[in-house]
């Protein structure tokens, strides 16, 4: 047992004061029996001279005193907010979605109202309230009254952030270490993937209390940049995913650019945009704020400096000269293309042509980041990155009369080793392949290990390399590789100010959650029981007084 309102000292002090006060009152309490007498003239005079109620007289009516003391003590406990320290049979976790979705229309006041209704429908002693904006935050703990909740909700506003409900659920998964049933009620539209739901233990039941049709019909859902399909090194393609509404409009360098084409339902493409690091904004007409616009920055593509072994000039000279993103240098450089026997640029990542006597595999891929024994999945990923899957491997193997093998392994520097024989097959040499320029470009990019094109930062989405941030105006969520800008807006980095956008939650296999059970749980708290007991004792006292059993 503990008290929500009083400290133990205040509790004991109050009880002692009550006992003392009642003791005094009990001494002064008189039960009069009516007696008819011949005259009261003598008694009148005696009463004037003698106080009928004196504290110093013998203590009377002990049982009446004890009953009163019990009654008042119970009331004192109620005033003190007595609550049971024993764990309730079930707990409730109310999660209020405070992400950008909450600021759409009148969602926020409606969700706050729903939260309050849900809070009142359950036992406050077993209810925890979390608010999930950029990060989950506790709003009330078990035992807090609705007054506290109202006070804290009053100043709470939505955040321009991604939903963090899943983070809260994962945190719950880590911290829940008992078998008590837990009802989790999500108030809002924050998506919860089926994957997360499946991870939760059986005793956790999920509900969602939200407004029907609360998801905006038109919203920006996401955005991405890729190298231009046209192959132009200095250009990129910008893809925008939307829901409903009209086609998005790109504002770049003061001009308004319509989408080039619609790739699929809700996917628009802006092609051949200059990769000069310019700021841009995408606007979706008729979409509600904040999902109607997003700012970003186009990538800045720097040419790669390549050292080329003169012996290989006939094979790679033309391809490299034609590649707008590659600059041949005499010394230094970012990477090297050489014969394995050459000592050119030994300290640089290298594309090596090697004799089949020296290398068992047709293609060897060395990577410092590779695992000691990388699996097939990692190999397939690398093959895709290098566009090796576009090469006619079967044709090459047939022409060569030997099977071609590819190995992906750990190395001190990135290195791609390829048999020289593949470049000397008569009539089917690799350099004569249609995909050879793409292959060379991809291989050089892979060797240079250029970072991903992170042109648009999204709230709540981790940004690789965010550790370069020197001076942030925001509190970064996560840590290490998972660092993510928590809120939409702008963020200062060592490379300058970056825009952070926020997108409407979109399909990621959201779990369909039932509505919470209506009505109160039916569990009365301890205070209610004590009040009922006190009322019963009061009625008993009244009855005893009427029967003349109590003074």
């Amino acid at each position: 047992m503990s008290l929500a309102q009083f400290s133990p000292i205040a509790l004991v002090g109050g009880l002692l004061a009550l006992a003392g006060g009642l003791y005094a009152l009990q001494r002064l309490r008189v039960r009069h029996s009516r007696v008819q007498v011949v005259t009261t003239m003598f008694w009148k005079q005696v009463a004037q001279d003698t106080y009928a109620r004196e504290l110093t007289q013998r203590f009377r009516h002990l049982w009446a005193y004890l009953l009163l003391l019990l009654l008042s003590s119970l009331l004192w406990f109620v005033v003190g907010g007595l609550r049971s320290d024993s764990l309730p049979e079930s707990e409730r976790l109310l999660i209020l979605d405070r992400s950008a979705s909450a600021s759409v229309g009148d969602h926020w006041p409606a969700w706050k109202r729903l939260l309050r209704e849900q809070f009142l429908a359950g036992d406050p002693d077993a209810t925890t309230v979390l608010v999930c904006g950029a990060a989950p935050r506790s709003l009330t703990v078990p035992g807090d009254s609705v007054v506290f909740l109202d006070e804290r909700l009053a100043t709470l506003e939505p955040e321009q952030s991604a939903p963090s409900v899943e983070h809260a659920m994962l945190a719950l998964l880590r911290t829940k270490n008992d078998m008590r049933p837990l009802d989790v009620v999500i108030i809002g539209q924050a998506p919860l993937s089926q994957r997360v739901v499946d991870l939760l233990p059986e005793e956790v039941r999920l509900f969602r209390a939200g407004l029907p049709n609360a998801v905006p019909s038109a919203a920006l859902l996401g955005m991405g940049v890729s190298p231009a399909v046209s192959g132009a090194w200095e250009r990129v393609d910008l893809g925008v995913r939307v829901r409903g509404g009209e086609a998005p409009v790109l504002h770049l360098a003061g001009s308004e650019i319509p989408a080039s084409k619609q790739q699929a339902q809700g996917l628009y493409l802006f092609q051949d945009l200059p990769a000069g690091g310019q700021q841009f904004e995408i606007q979706l007409p008729r979409a509600p704020a904040p999902f109607d616009r997003v700012q970003g920055q186009l990538p800045l593509r720097q040419p790669l400096s390549v050292l080329l072994d003169p012996a290989l000039e006939p094979i790679f000279g033309g391809v490299l000269a034609a590649h707008p993103g590659i600059q041949l240098v005499e010394q230094g450089g970012d990477l090297v293309i050489r014969l394995a026997s050459s000592d050119l640029g030994l300290e640089l990542p290298a594309l090596e042509l090697i004799s089949s006597d020296q290398q068992a595999e047709a293609i060897f891929l060395g990577d410092p980041a590779a695992a000691a024994e990388p699996g097939d999945l990692a190999l397939r990923k690398v093959l895709g990155e290098l566009a090796l899957d576009q090469l006619d491997g079967t044709g090459l193997a047939t022409s060569l009369g030997r099977p071609l093998e590819v190995t992906y392994n750990q190395a001190s520097l990135r290195r791609v080793g390829i048999w020289e024989d593949l470049f000397s097959i008569e009539g089917a040499a690799l350099q004569s392949s249609r995909s050879f320029p793409v292959f060379v470009g991809r291989v050089l990019s892979w060797l240079a290990d250029t970072p991903d094109w992170v042109h648009t930062w999204q709230a709540g989405v981790p940004v690789p390399g965010l550790d370069w941030i020197a001076d942030s105006e925001q509190t970064l969520a996560g840590s290490g590789e998972d660092l993510a800008p928590p809120l939409a807006g702008s963020i200062s980095t060592a490379l300058g100010s970056r825009s952070v956008g926020v997108f409407a939650p979109q399909g990621m296999s959201p779990a369909q959650l039932p509505a919470p059970l209506d009505g109160p749980s039916g569990d009365w708290n301890l205070g209610t029981w004590i009040l009922l007991l006190a009322l019963g004792l009061l009625l008993l006292e009244g009855r005893l007084v009427r029967l003349g059993r109590m003074p």
């Binding site: 008189v30 007498v37 005259t39 009261t40 009463a47 003698t50």
Partner: protein, 297 residues
């Protein structure tokens, strides 16, 4: 409904006892009826008392001719006049007299009948004026031995009154302008106005006074204890008291002061006082009082 059965007052034992009692006055007031009491009048009695000069109109049979021969002047002989003693009985018939069992009013009315009969048997005039809140005239002053039964019958037919108001009753009696006589107040003297008010009123009486105080042992020691709401049977006034030994002691002191006040009043005024214990036989108590020296008004 009468307050007592007739047989309790028209009681041969009472009348027999009355014959043995004698109420004598040192001197009765003049101009009374001829009876057994010595009067300040000079009249036709047997005992010679004095001479006085003759005055026109005097009975010549009273002239002392021997003295006329010796002194040459006319003197008349004066003899002691024996007249009646007017007795005015004031029995208290308030509610408090009939609360307990046996009621102290029974003792009071039996004492009233006894004294009235004793007076009537010695040819005195007797008037009966019961009182409670006010004085009533039950029997105007008159004599006659047969009146004793009549008075007893009338007293038995009385109904209990309300609250005791002795000062008012005394004032009303005084207003009747009765011949000076003996007023017998038969009461417990428990007047809500207090004993001081009672004695102050009694001081205004121009009659001689005999107080027959109706008492009980419980008056001095009620034997009550605990938390009580005492209700005055006459006024309905309630008094809450928690009776402890200290309170009991204080009560006894208060009652003693009451008794002392009466005793001092009677002593200073030469007033007769008889304390009757209502729980005991009235006749024997009164007989004992009169036999031990009688009562001289």
């Amino acid at each position: 409904m009468s307050i007592l059965a007739r047989s309790e007052l028209v009681d041969p034992e009472l009348f027999e006892a009355a014959r043995r009692l004698h109420v004598s006055a040192r001197r009765v007031a003049p101009r009374g009826r001829f009876a057994d009491q010595r009067s300040r009048d000079r009249g036709m009695g047997l005992e010679f008392e004095d001479h006085r000069p003759y005055a026109p109109g005097d009975d010549l049979r009273a002239v002392d001719w021997h003295l006329e021969r010796r002194l040459g002047r006319l003197f008349v002989r004066l003899f002691e006049q024996q007249e009646d003693l007017p007795m005015y009985l004031m029995p208290d018939v308030s509610k408090s007299q009939f609360l307990e069992e046996p009621p102290r009013g029974r003792a009071g009315l039996r004492a009233t009948v006894l004294l009235a009969a004793a007076a009537l048997f010695q040819h005195d005039t007797v008037g009966v004026f019961p009182f409670a809140e006010d004085l009533t005239t039950l029997a105007r002053p008159a004599s006659g031995r047969n009146r004793a039964v009549i008075l007893a019958t009338r007293l038995a037919a009385l109904e209990a009154g309300g609250a005791t108001d002795i000062p008012r009753a005394v004032k009303r009696l005084g207003a009747l302008r009765l011949r000076r006589g003996l007023v017998v107040l038969v009461s417990d003297l428990f007047d809500p106005r207090g004993i001081e008010a009672v004695t102050e009123a009694l001081k205004s009486l121009r009659h001689r006074l005999l107080i027959v105080q109706l008492t009980r042992p419980v008056d001095a020691d009620p034997g009550l204890a605990g938390d009580l709401r005492l209700v005055d049977c006459e006024t309905g006034v309630e008094e809450d008291v928690s009776i402890t030994p200290a309170v009991q002691q204080r009560y006894r002191e208060t009652y003693d002061a009451f008794e002392n006040h009466i005793a001092q009043f009677c002593r200073e005024r030469g007033i007769g006082r008889i304390r009757l214990d209502c729980d005991q036989d009235v006749v024997s108590q009164l007989t004992q009082v009169f036999e031990s020296g009688g009562f001289e008004a």
